[in-house]
Point group: C2
Chain length 105, copies 2
Amino acid sequence: MIAKTPRPPYYAVIFTSLKTNEEEGYNETSSLMVELAEQQAGYLGQESARDGVGITVSYWENLDAIKNWKLQTDHLLAQKQGREQWYACYKTRICLVERDYGFEK
Amino acid sequence: MIAKTPRPPYYAVIFTSLKTNEEEGYNETSSLMVELAEQQAGYLGQESARDGVGITVSYWENLDAIKNWKLQTDHLLAQKQGREQWYACYKTRICLVERDYGFEK
């Protein structure tokens, strides 16, 4: 779904990845990370799609919220497993959302 | 693929969309827009994935480059067709990429 975010400014973390062929534990951990992120202070929403390349964008109130999530214990473990098992490569971009606009039929 | 972007700061445009069932002309126009965007001054790269929700992130040197692409003639027509035919809803977010980091096996 399209995340319902507040008026800018707020932050976006764009996480773009290519997976390895290793699937074991990936979906479970991925779902758990979404649940845990939702419980973090300053979390605003998330959008995710994969076909070949995977793109997950999470939205946050400020840089502190992003930093706290990056250092959350279960998430640290998942990041380590991600590098060891699930991801061939990834890029994370921390962005200030300055402006947004939308369309709905 | 993961876009090869320069050191921050640069800009990202996150375009998140849900499609209608109307497919006619979508793939052709979509491919053409990627080709045309690549020819724009200030274009840095693009990442795209769809499963249900579609996420396309394009990267740009600055806000002027984004504005020029938004107003490019063929792109204006594609945006109009998008609203009339292909998209049930979308959200566009203009973001300043402040920091990035990556991982490669």
